[in-house]
């Protein structure tokens, strides 16, 4: 059903995110990256499955945990590393950093450091598409914590009454920083919140890239026919703490072990091998390419300049 090429492409993205986060965490530990850094490790299947199911020109809006979305939507890792290092060759000239990377050329309207704020922005992008009739779909990524913020229900309700081509994916990783979902709501099945607003909503395995892909693919088609919006609750789990300096000791070991056992990268590799019929060597080649690309990206970023103060002043001229 799936071609080898397609599964290879998925795996490459999955593996790229894994390598990107792992290597950047090392750069962080070396003091080369500063500020907040929220790894997407363990949640890769969601971004990759979702972005594979939509087009290059479709929109996404992303979160503080946004590197995965950015890569999945088509960013070049070298410009991402450069941004994380605060260099002028970065996506935002080093002005935004990890929590604000935007890659407008491929429809990534940006990460956001205000939890939940990317959702109304996504509603707006979908509204623009619906007015322009440009056939685009907007996918908004948020997580369980954000669903407790008022903009969640407000925005989903707006999208519903306006029939917007919007797919909101709640990456339910079961934590908001250290607060487990069981402490933040009495109804942990978050998709029900969509249903209560009259929105078709579905809970899925967020660690399975093909499940995510199929679900988004289906909903996106409906969206393009004017039958949106949709809500997807994708169940997943972080592989570590909230950010690089959080050891995440509050995460129960048995749960972590379980989610490690259904690691999205491992499953993506298996799909490529089993459903795609790829050889071990082919997989290794993909991995080697990704790793090499990443090292080049780091070199590119490190050798890049910072934005000069005068160029900075030119940007804020008239503010």
């Amino acid at each position: 059903m799936y071609t080898k090429e397609f599964l290879a492409q998925l795996y490459k993205k999955l593996y790229t995110i894994r390598v990107f986060e792992s290597r950047c965490i090392q750069l962080y530990r070396q003091g080369l990256i500063r500020g907040y850094f929220h790894p997407y490790l363990g949640e890769e299947a969601i971004a990759v499955g979702a972005c594979a199911a939509i087009e290059r020109h479709d929109y996404i809006t992303s979160t503080h945990r946004g590197h995965g979305h950015c890569i999945a939507k088509g960013a070049k890792v070298k410009f991402m590393v450069a941004e994380l290092l605060g260099k002028k060759t970065g996506y935002c000239k080093g002005l935004g950093g990890s929590m604000h990377i935007a890659d407008l050329a491929v429809g990534n309207l940006g990460a956001n450091a205000i939890v939940g704020a990317n959702l109304p922005l996504g509603v707006g992008a979908a509204l623009a598409s619906s007015m322009k009739k440009d056939g685009k779909v907007t996918v908004v990524f948020i997580s369980d914590g954000a669903s407790n913020n008022g903009v969640f229900s407000e925005s989903m309700n707006l999208a519903a009454i306006w029939n917007l081509p919007l797919i909101t994916i709640v990456e339910n990783n079961q934590y908001a920083v250290s607060t487990p979902i069981t402490q933040s709501t009495c109804e942990a099945n978050l998709f029900k919140r969509g249903e209560a607003l009259g929105i078709t909503s579905q809970q899925i395995d967020g660690n399975d890239v093909l499940t995510v892909y199929e679900t988004v693919k289906n909903f996106a088609e409906h969206c393009r026919r004017g039958e949106g919006p949709f809500l997807i609750e994708a169940i997943t789990f972080r592989h570590g703490g909230h950010h690089v300096n959080d050891p995440g000791l509050y995460m129960p070991k048995e749960k972590l072990d379980y989610y490690m056992s259904i690691d999205p990268i491992k499953r993506g590799r298996q799909y490529l091998l089993e459903k795609g019929g790829a050889s071990d060597n082919e997989v290794k080649e993909i991995e080697a390419t990704v790793e090499k690309n990443m090292e080049e990206a780091i070199r590119f970023a490190q050798s890049s300049d910072e934005l000069a103060f005068d160029d900075f002043l030119a940007i804020v001229e008239g503010y």
Partner: protein, 326 residues
């Protein structure tokens, strides 16, 4: 050819003309479509434009404003109406953290052609949560333009410019101005941001005022003229960008300054303008700058008290006399 029309009609014309000119312009707000808005600014626009371009929203200010910002990023030119400036307290994340900073955070790339229309000030007994003057909160934020027209002419020309502006604009009307009349040309025009208007020329003292304090200052100026005192009345029209040149030129001429704002004094825009004048025209000042401002209080419901918490004509007259040591 100019005709006399109402401030609210001037705004309506601006919206209509810009919507005709540019299909990406659209309106969002509560009760703005069928009902034409609480102050009738958007009246009849639904007759000409589709419900997709004149959108009635649920009471979800934060999110429909955020949707406006998102639509702007995605290439539209939304004009979002928030009924009362008091309710903008619900949307400041979208304005301050998102709209104002988006272009900057994305490395200076993405324009955000977003207009927020709202209205402030005391009306007639609307009480503490429907009467505030809060322009100072927007004025402080890098990345936002702040516009406060006082006449139909300015309202129309500035709103058209706001809609064409590639940066977020906070466009603040005044509930007591909607029914005021003034000359407005039939022909197309816009007014550039950052150009103050000298509403009355004079030589003895400079009054700086905006929004509903402009007509009140002009009334005071007329009374003062009867006493032989000839004041200049400057309306900055846009607080950001501020036309410092016109203000400073007037100050250098008159050497005496009164700044009038409806907002409370503490932390208001008047203080900032005063601080600029004292820094840039220190040697010209013959007297301390007088600020005439709202009383440091929420707005009371009772009408007699309400009239005491905003600057009155006599307060302005007294301030002018004070800077003239009369």
């Amino acid at each position: 050819m100019a005709r006399e029309i109402l401030y609210r009609e001037a705004l309506n014309e601006a919206l209509r003309e810009e919507m005709r000119r540019d299909p990406t312009v659209f309106l969002m707000g509560e009760g703005i479509a069928e009902r034409g808005g609480s102050y009738k600014v958007t009246v009849d626009l639904l007759k000409e434009f589709s419900p997709q371009r004149v959108i009635d929203t649920p009471i979800a200010e934060a999110s429909f404003t955020g949707a406006g910002v998102g639509a702007a990023i995605a290439g539209m030119r939304p004009v979002v109406e928030i009924l009362f400036i008091d309710f903008t307290m619900l949307i400041l994340d979208q304005i301050i953290n998102q709209a104002a900073k988006y272009k900057f955070m994305s490395g200076g790339k993405a324009p955000v052609p977003f207009v927020l229309r709202s209205q402030g000030g005391v009306g007639n007994g609307l009480a503490a949560q429907h009467s505030e003057s809060l322009e100072a909160l927007f004025y402080h934020i890098p990345g936002l333009k702040v516009v406060m027209p006082s006449t139909p002419y300015d309202a129309k020309g500035l709103l058209k410019s706001a809609i064409r502006c590639d940066e977020p604009v906070i466009f603040l009307e005044h509930k007591l101005l909607y029914m005021t009349k003034g000359d407005v040309p039939e022909a197309e025009y816009t007014i550039n941001f950052g150009q103050a208007d000298i509403k009355k020329r004079g030589k003895h003292a400079t009054i700086i005022a905006w929004s509903n304090m402009v007509p009140r200052s002009l009334d005071a100026a007329a009374k003062l003229a009867n006493e032989g005192i000839d004041v200049e009345v400057i309306d900055p029209r846009t607080l950001v960008p501020l036309d410092k040149a016109t203000i400073l030129a007037s100050v250098r001429k008159t050497e005496r300054v009164v700044i009038v704002q409806e907002a409370v004094r503490r932390g208001g825009v008047a203080s900032d303008i005063a601080s600029i004048i004292q820094a840039e025209a220190f040697d010209y000042l013959d007297a301390p700058i007088e600020i005439v401002a709202g009383l440091n209080s929420p707005v009371p419901f009772n009408l007699s008290l309400e009239s005491r918490v905003v600057p009155r004509e006599e307060d302005i007259i007294n301030a002018v006399k004070k800077v003239m040591y009369i």
